[in-house]
């Protein structure tokens, strides 16, 4: 009987050593190491088998005919696939759970720690929150103190590790100049990735809030000062804020602000935005993939993203916008909208309107108040304008390729030229309305 190869047990030892290293030295970048150096496992394996064959040959023993067994070939193919996958994943910045730092998420246990810290504070105090990971809830109250209830969650393999991590990260409230700083100090822990901390805070009503973090939601309620939140990844919900609100996020699932007396400014990337009852100016600058909703804004709204630039003087009604549509009703102009690809429906707007879209239909229905100047352009899409019977205007509507429809009768001249058509005419003495599409139907309707 032929002596069996020693590579089987060696592979077993290698796997054992890898898992042991990961368990004892948790910060080891094993994923990266394996993804980079796995080809040397193949080389070492081949060399071992080569040596085995040569040794057996020199002892004149019968040689295996293929050099590798079927099982080995299967294992090698698997190693190549997994290794290439890990290499590609690592290069593209993906960290897979079973190998990286999150192994604790699978094998560890969660330990909870709670504590409460308070500090007297009165009047318009400036409170700064520094919490690396975890949710922060801030509520204004009549108490003359800053009170923080902390709920720290530590993931660890045993209680001793967890206790140590808890002691390394004491929460503190300190005075720094005219500010009060609340720190959870999570970055002090040696395995920072395994701790997160939810804090529940009450502050005096007049407080000004400043929040810093890299991951975790912020909820702020009933605060008369301004709110400034900067985070890597957060959902932000602001309710009843007396001052300005400024939110700067690299990623977020939602930013919601309701009842804000000051200006609201939102920057960065995210998904949904919901703003309601804002007394100040609203500025949104960044890229948002979800639904944006604006309701009852008393001052100008300016929204600027990669594909869209929208300015509205006042939003007594609502604007709802997502990647493909923009719907607005009851708006006060001047309104200016430049966008790449959206279907636009505007309903009940006053003052002047200027719309430009590359691709998408435009449907306009001005409000009952005297008509403003309208200028709507689409590269490709239909333009519908619905006017009350009593409206006075000076229309010029053209399509380079498509039909023109007219409900206003003989006052408007209809003309076709080649593949295109146009409407032209004056009804009474009113503002200039220009509609223009390169491809699509232009219609003038009577409501």
């Amino acid at each position: 009987m032929r002596r069996r190869s020693i590579t089987g047990p060696l592979i077993l030892i290698l796997i054992g050593v890898l898992f042991l290293t990961r368990n004892l030295w948790q910060e080891a970048p094993l994923f990266q190491l394996i993804s980079l150096y796995w080809p040397f496992i193949l080389i070492a394996w081949g060399v071992l088998r080569l040596i085995e064959v040569l040794v057996e040959a020199s002892r004149s023993k019968p040689l295996p005919s293929g050099g590798l067994s079927g099982g080995e070939v299967a294992l090698i193919v698997l190693l190549c696939i997994v290794g290439s996958g890990m290499y590609a994943a690592d290069r593209h910045g993906v960290r897979l759970a079973p190998f990286g730092t999150t192994s604790l998420e699978v094998f560890g246990e969660q330990y909870d720690y709670r504590s409460t810290v308070q500090k007297p504070a009165t009047g318009a105090v400036h409170v700064v929150f520094e919490n690396l990971r975890g949710n922060v809830r801030i509520t204004g109250s009549d108490e003359k103190e800053v009170k923080v209830d902390e709920h720290k969650m530590v993931r660890a393999f045993n209680k001793k590790d967890a206790d140590q991590a808890d002691q390394q990260t004491p929460m503190e409230i300190v005075n720094e100049g005219d500010r009060i700083v609340v720190r959870t100090n999570l970055e002090r822990a040696s395995h920072a990735r395994r701790i997160s901390c939810d804090i529940d805070v009450t502050v005096p009503h007049e407080a000004t809030i400043e929040g810093r973090g890299s991951n975790g939601d912020y909820d702020v309620t009933d605060v008369k000062g301004s709110v400034d939140i900067t985070s890597g990844n957060a959902g932000v919900r602001l309710t009843n804020i007396g001052g300005n609100a400024k939110v700067d996020l690299q990623r977020s699932d939602i930013v919601r602000a309701v009842d804000v007396k000051g200006d609201v400014s939102i920057e960065g990337k995210g998904s949904d935005i919901e703003l309601e009852n804002v007394a100040g100016q609203v500025t949104v600058n960044g890229s948002y993939s979800g639904t944006l909703q604006f309701k009852n804004l008393a001052k100008p709204l300016h929204l600027e993203s990669r594909n869209t630039d929208l300015r509205v003087a006042q939003v007594p009604g609502t604007i709802t916008m997502d990647l493909g549509d923009l719907n607005g009703s009851n708006l006060i102009g001047p309104i200016r909208l430049v966008t790449r690809s959206k279907d636009i429906h505007l309903d009940g707007f006053t003052q002047s309107l200027e719309i430009e879209t590359e691709r998408g239909d435009i449907e306009l229905k001005p409000g009952s108040a005297p008509l403003g100047k309208i200028d709507a352009k689409s590269r490709s899409g239909n333009i519908d304008l619905e006017l009350p019977e009593s409206a006075k205007f000076d229309l010029k509507a053209t399509t380079s390729r498509g039909e023109a429809r007219n409900d206003f009768g003989s006052a408007i001249q209809s003309e076709t030229s080649g593949a295109g058509a146009s409407l032209k005419g004056k009804v009474g003495d009113g503002p200039v309305i220009t509609l223009r599409t390169d491809r699509g139907t232009v219609s003038l309707k009577k409501s």
Binding site: P39, I41, I43, V47, L50
Partner: protein, 67 residues
């Protein structure tokens, strides 16, 4: 008694394995990507097969077994 033909057939697997490992290592650490260097595997297999044939005519016990 092992013949040189048996020896060549026995080392074929390990040598292909080393080749593949080397190509992936080159892919990771040099500018020679695997998508460029993979034909080397075919060449190595071809060379090994040729060497096997060349030695088989002298004392090859199994006829026709190329790969």
């Amino acid at each position: 008694m092992t013949t040189s033909n048996e020896l060549i057939r026995a080392v074929r697997g390990p040598i292909i394995l080393i080749t593949i490992g080397t190509l992936f290592a080159l892919d990771h650490f040099t500018r020679w990507g695997f998508q460029q260097t993979w034909p080397v595997i075919l060449i190595v297999i071809g060379l090994l097969t040729l060497a096997g044939r060349a030695t088989r005519t002298t004392s090859g016990p199994t006829p026709g077994g190329a790969i």
